[in-house]
């Protein structure tokens, strides 16, 4: 069962102009400033005097710049573009006891990934993201969303040397994610997104992901918004099962194939809020405001406006930074225009109109 999607109201900005409110957000990652990549090269070069404190200053600066860039685009909730993270599994595996790294492995062509091995029971050591959250929360005027790689993906995108199966490993990791979420909430976080891209490649494991989520949200206040991001897969293989997930919102990538899969969700019984991808994260051409407005209306086939969140398809980190910014800016503009048109009654909401009341 979905949790408490009404908790979205806390993110409505003060003085919001429309009665309708389409929550705008991002999935998380964002192109790094070129100077940050140069700084990393120096930091990783043993012959260079660029050390820990210089690197810390550089990442703080980047986090500040990108958080403000998200605010300038007008987003209702912001992320710092994951400036302190290089790769979505490696970052967490480095912080969780029980993982070790042996070297890069091939994904395709000359693209590699430092796939870690789980060599003993995983354990929580130091907080993973609390410092990052506190920094961004301090910098930001807007509420901050915290993306965390989900336990199913952390288990599946690693070599498992220590557990009988990946399911057992995923559950242990889910307990650690729960511990981290508790600490984030204690630090003030109100919007957490669990990223599970691995579910798209092995959709038959949706029940494992569901059980992981049960563990993650255990004892987490219902005012804390919990999202799930799943991208690049056949959604018909995980829906309607996701209706049973204990989440407030599911974030999906649908702009990429021009909403061919929107019908999967439009059965009139969609339970969580829908966070709809409305700009493509892997095409540098910037969608126009008009185009994005049409994309947003695809979401209204599934949910009414009060259950619709607006987001890019996926993390924007592979785009040129200018394109990433322009996409966010147009996305927010489009959402604000759709809100006004909804207020004026100029837009149809098929999700409401197509479902006849039960006593009709």
């Amino acid at each position: 069962m979905s949790r408490n999607p009404q908790n979205r109201e806390q993110f409505r900005p003060e003085g919001h102009e429309s009665d309708h409110f389409l929550l705008t957000t991002v999935v998380g990652s964002y192109p790094k400033p070129k100077w940050l990549n140069r700084a990393r090269d120096r930091f990783e070069d043993d012959d260079h005097s660029f050390g820990e404190s210089e690197w810390a200053e550089a990442t703080d600066d980047a986090s500040r710049v990108i958080t403000h860039e998200h605010e300038r685009a007008g987003l209702d909730t912001v992320v710092d573009g994951e400036m302190r993270r290089e790769e979505m599994v490696e970052f967490f595996a480095e912080r969780i006891d029980g993982y070790e790294f042996n070297g890069p492995v091939k994904v395709w062509g000359h693209n590699y990934f430092d796939k870690p091995s789980v060599v003993e029971g995983v354990e929580y050591d130091e907080p993973w993201l609390v410092d990052e959250f506190e920094f961004v929360d301090d910098v930001a005027e807007r509420p901050v969303k915290v993306p965390i790689t989900g336990p199913y993906t952390l288990a599946n995108w690693a070599f498992n040397e220590a557990y009988d199966d990946d399911e057992a490993l995923a559950y242990d990791l889910a307990d650690l994610v729960n511990e981290e979420v508790e600490k984030l909430v204690e630090a003030g976080a109100r919007y957490i997104q669990i990223d599970e891209p691995a579910l798209a490649t092995t959709p038959d494991d949706h029940a494992i992901v569901g059980e992981c989520l049960e563990r993650i949200v255990s004892d987490i206040d219902e005012e804390v918004r919990i999202g799930l991001h799943v991208c690049y897969g056949d959604y018909s293989r995980v829906y309607p099962e996701v209706n049973e997930f204990p989440i407030d919102e599911i974030d999906v990538e649908l702009a990429n194939d021009e909403y061919k899969q929107i019908g999967v969700f439009a059965d009139g019984n969609f339970q969580p809020d829908l966070a709809l991808g409305v700009v493509d994260a892997h095409v540098a051409d910037v969608e126009s405001v008009e185009q994005i407005k049409e994309n947003i209306q695809q979401g209204l086939k599934v949910v009414p406006p009060e259950k619709l969140t607006i987001s890019p398809d996926c993390g924007l980190k592979l785009l040129p930074r200018e394109a990433a910014y322009a996409k966010m800016e147009n996305m927010v503009q489009a959402a604000r225009e759709v809100e006004a048109e909804l207020d004026a009654g100029e837009i149809d909401v098929p999700a409401v109109e197509d479902v006849a009341p039960a006593d009709d």
Binding site: N102, G103, V105, W108, G109, H110, W157, N160, E161, T201
Partner: protein
């Protein structure tokens, strides 16, 4: 008494220096991948990779030496993705893995290209007296399964053409002791009734192109009964079974019911997990498999990883080469001792 032979199905992970050097020389994008016409700097780098692969296998003490297939950017689809009659399409998933290859779209007649023969000759030049060379190719059914046919227009005709093409490639190979035909598709996407006979017949055709011992290696899943029965009609020396990831009871059931070839290949070392097996344990598993097949003794038992090893970081790949060699030696000694006792 069985001769226990330590070997691998090839497709090794590039050494880390080569990952860096070749990414810099070639680039990271789809159009940067191998097309069979690489420049001298790239060819030199692959020459160094090949020499390192051969040295690693010799150091480990393997009984067969493979070229290592460092150039196979598209894994088992490689022989087609470098072919003149093939255009490469989008990036597609490689079986049930987080790995991808370029879709080979066959747009013209397939004829021998000599690409694999050239690599194998280069590897042969690196061998010393007493080293035994092993050739590696995708089996015809697997290669056809990984490709898109936009030329022949008929599934059977296409498979038939891929069989002829691979046989012609093998014909150009330098002398080799063993040929491994890798056939994961034969079990993960088994031929249907219409193709069963032809799938086996094309394997037979490729095998007939060499005097070497031919092993048809399957992995990830167990056989289905009918395709297995048809494969028994192919004149090959051994079938390879995955005893790590596949359902071993099913494979053993067919082996015992329908028999298998005079030799056997056992995928006993996990090619997709960094946990390095204990050589004694692997040797015991060799004995265990022999015990499960009471009606048959084998002239040769090949001990191998279940899959290619490019999934692994280099240090674990190398450690597993040593485990294979050590395990085969222990299993061979144990078998000899048992034979002596029985005698």
């Amino acid at each position: 008494m069985t001769d226990v032979v330590a070997t691998t199905p090839g497709l090794y992970p590039l050494p880390d220096w080569a990952k860096d050097d070749l990414s810099n020389l070639k680039g990271h994008q789809k159009h940067d991948l191998i097309d069979g016409d690489e420049d001298a700097a790239v060819a030199d780098a692959y020459g160094d990779v090949r020499a390192e692969f051969v040295a690693d296998q010799r150091d480990a003490g393997l009984d067969r030496i493979v070229e290592g297939q460092g150039r196979w950017d598209d894994m088992l689809a490689h022989p087609l993705t470098v072919h003149d009659s093939v255009e490469t399409g989008g990036i597609v998933r490689y079986y049930d893995n987080n790995n991808f290859y370029r879709d080979p779209r066959v747009v013209g007649d397939l004829h021998a290209s000599g690409d694999v023969a050239a690599e194998l000759s280069a590897a042969a030049d690196l061998l010393a007296d007493g080293d035994a060379l092993q050739a590696v190719l995708p089996g015809p059914y697997t290669l056809a399964d990984l490709a898109s046919d936009e030329h022949y227009g008929d599934e059977a005709e296409f498979l038939d053409a891929v069989g002829d093409y691979l046989a012609d490639e093998v014909d150009a190979f330098p002398a080799h002791e063993t040929l491994f035909l890798l056939e994961p598709s034969y079990v993960t996407n088994a031929p249907d009734d219409d193709l069963n006979e032809l799938a086996s017949e094309t394997i037979d055709r490729v095998a007939a192109a060499t005097d070497a011992d031919v092993v048809v290696q399957t992995y990830w899943e167990a056989f289905e009964e009918t395709p297995y029965a048809h494969l028994m009609d192919a004149d090959v020396d051994a079938v390879g079974f995955d005893f790590v990831a596949a359902d071993r009871d099913t494979n053993l059931e067919y082996i015992n019911e329908l028999g298998t070839k005079a030799d056997i290949a056992l995928g006993l070392v996990d090619g997709q997990n960094t946990l390095v097996e204990d050589a004694e344990t692997v040797a015991e598993r060799v004995g265990w498999v022999h015990d499960q097949i009471p009606a048959q003794t084998f002239d040769t038992t090949y001990v191998t990883p279940n899959t290619e090893t490019f999934y692994l970081p280099v240090n674990k790949h190398q450690a597993k080469l040593s485990v294979l060699a050590e395990a085969a030696a222990i299993a061979g000694d144990a078998d000899a001792a048992e034979t002596e006792v029985e005698a």
